[in-house]
């Protein structure tokens, strides 16, 4: 079976990035901060429809809306039973019987949500539409049954081989091929928002650590019967 | 019940000999490095006095260039 392909996810992610930026910029231009899932402001439509030659100013990653809540790493991990677990749904989740189209209305494109004064986190896997297969809300009301579950420490950040070299990816990429979801833009997790999202091809410099084993040369040893 | 961790650098070529000598101490667990001339060891004794006696004995083991105490704990 084929390994998860990075490119479609990255393409969606990068597209998502370019969607957020003009979306947010468009809202800066307009005075109202309506979250408009599915629809677009006229300013954004204009930006999207304008032919490339007419583009003048370079895209800039704006600062989040002043005063808007920012996603912290602590909050990020508190929603997961262990680093890498599917996060729980931290907000009242509306209709339980619908499939992902209702969740993806917000989580596929992102945007500012006045009700929570925050930016919607992007799903790194919006092609999956049975969201409640993995993500469940917490009632906070459950009693009984004490657990001895202990959370393992999350991976350390900045694991560079030498000072200044690109840190390796400290987590698996399964279902997280789209780096932008957590690392780019106003809905990124604050402590891990990157300084250089415009470079796009993240895995050109950042690689996962597949093994801890050292390289052992087989020079001078019998290999494959030779 | 003192518990101590040690890093041992034997004289060149004497890793196996040092491992043998250290393994003779019942209070010690010895782990040689696979690819370098080093060993690590953890010791556990019943009292502070015993621990000091052991330390004294370790210092007189032959062929050790460097004996470094990296960890000491005395749980109740």
């Amino acid at each position: 079976m084929s390994a998860p392909k990075a490119s479609p996810g990255c393409a969606v992610g990068i597209l998502g990035l370019f969607m957020i930026v003009p979306f947010v910029v468009a809202h800066w231009v307009e005075d109202s901060f309506h979250h408009d899932p599915g629809g677009h402001s006229t300013a954004l439509k204009t930006l999207l429809n304008s032919p490339l030659e007419k583009k003048t100013a370079p895209m800039v990653v704006p600062d989040p809306v002043e005063g808007a809540k920012v996603r912290t790493l602590r909050e990020f991990y508190s929603r997961r039973a262990y680093p890498g677990a599917p996060p729980v749904i931290p907000h009242p989740a509306g209709r339980e019987d619908l499939m992902g189209d209702s969740c993806l209305t917000c989580h596929a494109q992102g945007g500012y949500v006045p009700k929570y004064n925050a930016f919607t986190p992007l799903s790194p896997h919006p092609e999956k539409s049975n969201c409640r297969q993995c993500h469940v809300p917490q009632s906070g009301k459950a009693k009984g049954f004490v657990s001895n579950w202990s959370k393992v420490n999350p991976p350390k950040r900045g694991q560079s081989a030498m000072g200044g070299s690109p840190p390796r990816i400290p987590h698996t990429l399964q279902l997280r091929e789209n780096c932008a979801s957590c690392h780019v833009g106003p809905s990124a997790v604050e402590e891990i928002r990157v300084s250089h999202p415009e470079r796009e091809n993240c895995q050109q410099c950042h690689v996962p650590r597949t093994t801890q084993e050292l390289f052992r040369s087989s020079l001078g040893k019998k290999v494959d019967g030779r | 019940m003192p518990i101590c961790g040690y890093l041992i650098t034997p004289s060149p070529g004497k890793k196996d000999a040092v491992q043998k000598s250290l393994s003779s101490f019942p209070e010690a667990e010895v782990y040689p490095a696979e690819n370098q001339n080093m060993l690590i060891m953890v010791t556990e004794t019943d009292s502070k006095e015993q621990d000091q006696e052991l330390e004294h004995q370790l210092k007189s083991v032959e062929n050790i260039d460097c004996l470094a105490l990296t960890f000491g704990a005395n749980p109740a």
Partner: protein, 768 residues
């Protein structure tokens, strides 16, 4: 003690760190596991449903700390569901059973496990000598690993000499089994999950696949997203997430699935959509008995009789099932029936049917399984990639253990107890006298608990299941287990309502705390190594059986060693299935791969059976060969619509339907101790249709009283939640031991499979 080990680990780690600071790249071999702070990932099938997802469990310092989907497993390709992702938390509930207990004067007393095992063996000896071999019994589970079930069968059937061996898969998959055997002569699906990647139409027959086989459903959704025109049809009795995901949802009145299936067949003939060549070459028409009863009386017995019929008689039989007539019976519009028939009949469309408990937990469960097969046989849409009926299994090893090892009263690992050849084969492999193995089946599950109630069975050993929550009509079977002179042994990992009635509780190792194998829905056997130490004195169910067997004097038959017993048991078991129709892969292959499909012939898995292109067991001169039946012809069975035994009436005007939710597994003894899952759905509830709720003045969350002829219960209402029953029906999930809905259900069963119908009885609904 623990603190000392931790400090020693820290001491070593500090020395190793100092070493690597001085000499980067230094490596120390054979360090004790506690010093290795790296997470090690090891493969295992998931502990929960019959999809059998491959997971990678992260183990660090002797604890399970994280889960990933196993990308190398073709079942789920790296995806899991909320239960799978949080499965490892099941090991760490605070009230995990770590010691054995023996009931003395009504009080459970902690006992060393060796003494408890002595007591179990001595009690068995005593019961056998005083009341005979058939006074002892074992009730196991589709969550038994393969070695668990094999040892249970060998001990009870081979050594002791009783067929009082049953498992909870009787309550879960028995109708699927008898469906397979009556139509094809061989158990288990002919297709595999790869069918999903080729199909154009998916029909779910009364199962909420989005919640119950979620990862497979995601594969279905993926297929639809990638190929335009792919359709999902939800044929159901209530509206669920699956209904909302489907292109069409057609609701039918309970039990009338029989009529709808026959109406589809009627339409296939009417519009000339039958694959006549396929039918002529590869099928034979048969009929069985009708008016076959419901099993409500103790000692109810039924034996079917097959009669050959011809095509003409079959068409005459179908004349009662025109879409217009069935619209009246079922509530499904004739146009919708015709729509479905057209999808089945269109030769350009590949169709996969899925079903599970809606079809199996059914007083005519065998029949509805037969009827779904009829549709696929009449159209020739079977045993090919993307085309075929796929019976989904509920539990992780109902196939692997209960069906393939044969832990049912009439079964042996190869064949049935009634056949001499099968008994001789078992006696030879088991090294027991041929005369030991009894030739007559004794009790199926419901009858076994009736026998315990009556006192015909005096000793029951229950492993890995919770019958005091899951048996229907609990108000009879729970007191039955507690009567004087009954001795109940329960092996489990947590206290449950079943351990509450036990005389001896044995603490079990859970899942990856011992080595084992499971077999999933698609004939895939998956191995898992022992990754962790079980807590306290907890012991694997396999080893408990071996210890008791030795105490009973069967050391010769149970010579397995502590280190290699799982391998030894599996390799012995494998001998039963040698041959092209059922060969199991060798132990080393299972260790290496993320699951291997049987038949495993010449190093290759047989993905599609009965199709000579893919199945080496076929007669190669024919395209299709249903070799379980004479002349390789599968049976098309004329099975009529017969109504449910207890329908809504004036006094009890609603249907009571029961089932699950995605977050909880079965009786909740595991998932309610998993914080994320328990917090997601903390309490059971009763789903009401909004119109009914309004008429009774009941709002979401308010108390509702349910009363049947067998019991009553009070629970909160769910209106507008994840499922909506039609008017006149209520639905209750059974995971909550504080809301024992099975006190209200009826112990009617399919007379052929003996599987109870948990989906249909009559209930009165009132505002509390």
């Amino acid at each position: 003690m623990i603190r000392r080990e931790l400090l020693k680990a820290m001491a070593l780690a500090s020395a190793a760190t100092a070493a690597s600071t001085l000499v980067p790249g230094v490596a120390f071999a054979d360090l004790p596991e506690e010093t290795n702070t790296d997470v090690q990932w090891k493969k295992t099938p998931c502990r929960f449903c019959g999809v059998g997802c491959g997971l990678l469990v992260g183990v660090q310092k002797g604890r399970a700390v994280a889960v990933k989907g196993d990308p190398a497993c073709s079942v789920n390709k790296g995806l899991a569901c909320v239960k799978g992702y949080h499965s490892i938390q099941v090991l760490y509930g605070n009230d995990r059973l770590k010691k054995a207990y023996v009931r003395k004067d009504g009080v459970m007393v902690e006992t060393p496990i060796k003494d408890a095992l002595d007591l179990v063996a001595s009690k068995m000896k005593e019961t056998i000598s005083q009341h005979g071999k058939d006074a002892v019994s074992i009730y196991g589970s589709g969550q038994w690993t393969i070695p668990d079930g094999y040892c249970a069968s060998k001990l009870f059937k081979g050594c002791i000499g009783t067929n009082n061996v049953e498992a909870n898969a009787r309550l879960c998959m028995a109708s699927a089994v008898t469906g397979f055997l009556t139509t094809f002569g061989k158990d288990e699906p002919m297709g595999c999950y790869e069918d999903i990647d080729h199909a154009d139409v998916f029909v779910t027959w009364g199962n909420n696949m989005a919640e119950m086989h979620p990862v497979l459903f995601s594969r279905v959704l993926d297929r639809r997203a990638k190929k335009p025109g792919v359709e999902i049809i939800d044929l159901a009795t209530r509206t669920t997430r699956t209904s909302h995901a489907a292109n069409h949802s057609f609701l039918f009145k309970p039990q009338t699935d029989l009529a709808v299936a026959n109406a589809i067949c009627h339409e296939l003939f009417e519009k000339g959509m039958v694959n006549e060549e396929f039918v002529k070459k590869y099928t034979a028409f048969k009929k069985g008995k009708t008016n076959i009863g419901y099993g409500l009386e103790d000692g109810f017995a039924f034996k079917d009789k097959m009669e050959s019929i011809d095509l003409k008689e079959f068409k005459t039989f179908l004349a009662d099932y025109t879409p217009e007539k069935v619209e009246v019976i079922s509530g499904v519009p004739a146009s919708d029936i015709r729509y479905m028939a057209k999808l089945f009949g269109d030769p350009r469309k590949k169709v996969v049917s899925f079903w599970c408990m809606g079809a199996n937990q059914h007083t005519r469960g065998t029949w509805i399984n037969n009827l779904i097969y009829n549709i696929h046989l009449l159209t020739g849409k079977i045993s090919q990639p993307g085309n075929g009926p796929f019976s989904l299994t509920g539990q992780p090893s109902a196939c692997g253990t209960v069906r393939e090892v044969g832990t049912l009263t009439h079964k042996l690992p190869y064949g049935v107890v009634m056949k001499e050849a099968a008994r001789r084969k078992a006696a030879e492999i088991w090294n027991v006298p041929y005369e030991n193995i009894p030739s007559k089946p004794t009790y199926h599950t419901v009858e076994m608990f009736r026998a315990l109630d009556r006192g015909d069975i005096k000793f029951m050993w229950i492993q890995v299941t919770n019958p005091m929550v899951t048996m229907p009509k609990l108000n009879r079977y729970r007191p039955g287990a507690q009567k004087d002179g009954r001795f109940v042994v329960v092996s489990d990992i947590y206290p449950t309502p079943t351990t509450d009635v036990a005389d001896v509780i044995l603490p079990s190792a859970c899942w990856i705390e011992r080595e084992g194998m499971y077999g999933n829905s698609e004939r895939r056997t998956a191995h898992f190594e022992q990754m962790l130490q079980p807590p306290g004195e907890a012991m694997s169910d396999t080893w408990q059986l071996i210890e008791v067997a030795k105490r009973l004097g069967y050391s010769k038959q149970f010579p397995y060693t502590p280190k290699d017993h799982i391998e030894q048991i599996y390799e012995e078991y494998r001998l039963f299935h040698k041959g092209k129709t059922h060969n199991m892969a060798p132990y080393e292959v299972l260790q290496k791969e993320s699951g291997v499909v049987w038949p495993y012939v010449d190093g290759k898995s047989t993905l599609w059976r009965y199709n000579s292109k893919y199945d080496p067991a076929c007669d190669a001169t024919k395209d299709f060969d249903f070799y379980g039946k004479p002349e390789g012809k599968a049976f098309i069975l004329a099975r009529p619509f017969e109504d449910a035994p207890e329908k809504p009436d004036k006094e009890y005007p609603f249907w009571l339907n029961t089932g699950r939710v995605i977050e909880h597994w079965h009786s909740g003894s595991m998932t309610r101790r998993i914080p994320t899952l328990h917090q997601a759905v903390p309490e059971a509830y009763v789903e009401l249709n909004p119109v009914d709720a309004k008429a009774m003045g009941i709002k979401h969350g308010e108390g509702v009283k349910l009363v049947t002829r067998r019991g009553k219960i009070e629970m909160p209402a769910s209106v507008g939640g994840r499922g909506t029953p039609p008017e006149g029906m209520v639905f209750v999930p059974f995971f909550d031991e504080n809301h024992l809905i099975n006190n209200l259900t009826l112990d009617a069963f399919c007379p052929i499979s003996k599987q109870p119908d948990y989906k249909k009885c009559a209930v009165r609904v009132e505002k509390a």
